[in-house]
Symmetry: C4
Subunit: 236 residues, 4 copies
Amino acid sequence: MSNPDDCRAKLVVANRILAHENVMDAYGHVSMRHPDQPDRFIMSCSRSPELVTLDDLMEFDLDCNPVAPDDRRLYGERPIHGAIYKARPDVQAIVHNHSHDVLPYTVSRNLALRPMIHSAACIGHELPVWDIRSRFGDTNLLVLTMDHGRDLAQRLGSNAVVLMRGHGCTVVADTIEQVVMRTIYLTVNAKLQLATLPYGDITFLSEREIELSSELHFSSVSMSRAWEYWARRSGM
Amino acid sequence: MSNPDDCRAKLVVANRILAHENVMDAYGHVSMRHPDQPDRFIMSCSRSPELVTLDDLMEFDLDCNPVAPDDRRLYGERPIHGAIYKARPDVQAIVHNHSHDVLPYTVSRNLALRPMIHSAACIGHELPVWDIRSRFGDTNLLVLTMDHGRDLAQRLGSNAVVLMRGHGCTVVADTIEQVVMRTIYLTVNAKLQLATLPYGDITFLSEREIELSSELHFSSVSMSRAWEYWARRSGM
Amino acid sequence: MSNPDDCRAKLVVANRILAHENVMDAYGHVSMRHPDQPDRFIMSCSRSPELVTLDDLMEFDLDCNPVAPDDRRLYGERPIHGAIYKARPDVQAIVHNHSHDVLPYTVSRNLALRPMIHSAACIGHELPVWDIRSRFGDTNLLVLTMDHGRDLAQRLGSNAVVLMRGHGCTVVADTIEQVVMRTIYLTVNAKLQLATLPYGDITFLSEREIELSSELHFSSVSMSRAWEYWARRSGM
Amino acid sequence: MSNPDDCRAKLVVANRILAHENVMDAYGHVSMRHPDQPDRFIMSCSRSPELVTLDDLMEFDLDCNPVAPDDRRLYGERPIHGAIYKARPDVQAIVHNHSHDVLPYTVSRNLALRPMIHSAACIGHELPVWDIRSRFGDTNLLVLTMDHGRDLAQRLGSNAVVLMRGHGCTVVADTIEQVVMRTIYLTVNAKLQLATLPYGDITFLSEREIELSSELHFSSVSMSRAWEYWARRSGM
């Protein structure tokens, strides 16, 4: 991710892919850490992912203030991104969404999302659920302050995904491509696990299978095939 | 909603959006109260929402008679609209539909629709079910007379949504944009609740969360992002 | 249905609609009784409904022989049509399909399809299941002989729909438009009933509601709105 | 399958069909045995099936080495194909995919896929499940070596389909058209069986019905209708 222009273009494609694959609807957002200035991140102004263009991208500091403020409206939930980039220096890209397939796992205490298929191994072994109510009581459920963001980042811990009660989920990764793949297969696994659970006696991936399958799935040959496919389908 | 022409254009877009998002099929209708004459409402002649154009819009008095009758066919269920605009001076826009995701909740007495996700908070805390049979016995289930309409409006009460047994639902709101959002997320919540119910132990939104999330969701920044997205997808 | 050319054009549209609404895939067929010669019926040569054009239409006698044989391949299951047109002089149009939503009801003896929503009232009160194995033992399940066809027609009796075990269903009606509507809402009701059944305590339509709702749904104002919508969506 | 050029063109169409019918996403592959040289098979370089063109096709020996190596990336799971072509001289075409509808049957020991509808008879009476862990312990689940491939081929035995735990399935057939049909209806049956299982008391196809229905479904009149339909839908 050396050329900032390439990165920006890729961020636009990521928005389009996630919208086209029905992982995001009118809401949700994708960000990347600035490739040269790790204390900044890049994200669209307030616009649905399906419609994001290069011109919509803006830079923010890690307190979520725009570096060059103008009169455009901003996503209210910027603290999801700022707080996680602060807490997790390893993270380079973040997706927040309200994926329909994932939402049931955020509201029923009897459901626990776990990787069941090799292509979803990259969601990791543990997917904590964050309930904003635990610390902040009744709210509109959105992550609107850095306090909310820090609490969310703490629940995320060193994992790749954090589920958010009655709201959605947040996914982090080392690259834009990886965060897109992780987000898409999180959704696939969520859907398939819900279809299988009623029958019971399920073989989930072992911890070592998760590790080995993730590595394979994030490899260059696997990733470039999927990215070419998703990008073309999204019309980019 | 000051300029009547703008409002009419918006009403056409609302028809297209609800058809494109699969909330309405061949049937269903959207109306708005006349912006200058509160004792009138505007609605299409008998035409599927996906095909409605500006030329199809007609004005009706609150007894559902066309202000300027011509030879066009009319929706038979105009009394849904007339009766609610009479009973609820606060209501400015109404959607009636047969959304597939909502229908199960209208026929099983063991299902009760409740907001489970923040984006559906706007459907409100209570969603009464109206059964035309309770007062009118065996009918074709349609709301074809002002008597039917008044009974439906009474069951709706001060709520935002009324479910109709074996038929569909009716959604009301303060603006066209709000009635579209409420209708779409009603469908989303209905689908997700049905997927989650078998697992039990669900955290629904609290009353205060419903209030706070509704407010946020209907705010200008949230609404304009969604409306731009839905309108573009519908080809408008 | 006086002008034979108009009827033929409508039959093509019916093929396209049923394919576009996902009621038929590569297989299935629609036929109409000849408007002037009641001892003939019109149907496509062997071609998937989505691809049928005017040139594909052929005439058959009620023993299913082509009136003007040529070298085109024919649907193997013509006896469904011939045998029903013989047994039911009232029937003017027939659809046979393998609708996914309907298939579960053909194989589980614990499932009984019944109209639950007003728009599906037209499927009628009783939907018998025909199992070719009962009389013919092990076969390839297709209705390939007039003997098979007569047995199916007998099970259909005076109803509007007959389910076929492990195979699909056959729907009959007084007009092409009606057979299309009945087929589409059969699918909708089947899907919704399966979604609702796990929750129990369902209010199905009463016999009188079925009668009154059917009448309304098949009325000119209701039918013309739906036909315009379906035809346009199918690209016709 | 005499003309090698025709076969290659058909293989491209098969890729597009399986992608368009949602049986394959970014991953999965289709191969054919070389029509003139039975010790070779033809398959795309590493590319998503939806994007495969004639230029992507390459030849491999049965140890999965490219006959004319160049710098293109290859599918890692070539051993699925090489090992099965070695073990099963009758097999002329192979599909490997991660079909969502099939995956539940690979992970729950309480689910057994069986043909329930006549159009899926061709999946056969027995569908073994292969778990790579049984012999190879923790892996990334992929079939990356000839050892893996031989083990998979052994589990497939003389059947038409082998399910792969937490991974997907592999389907074999006598022709490209047949492997496409078998793969598509495997998915349909899997989806419908999952929808029906909760209700119990299911009539599955008998062994003789499976035999007779398969024969009919693979007949020229049935196959050509379906192939024309799928090819046109896929844009080919």
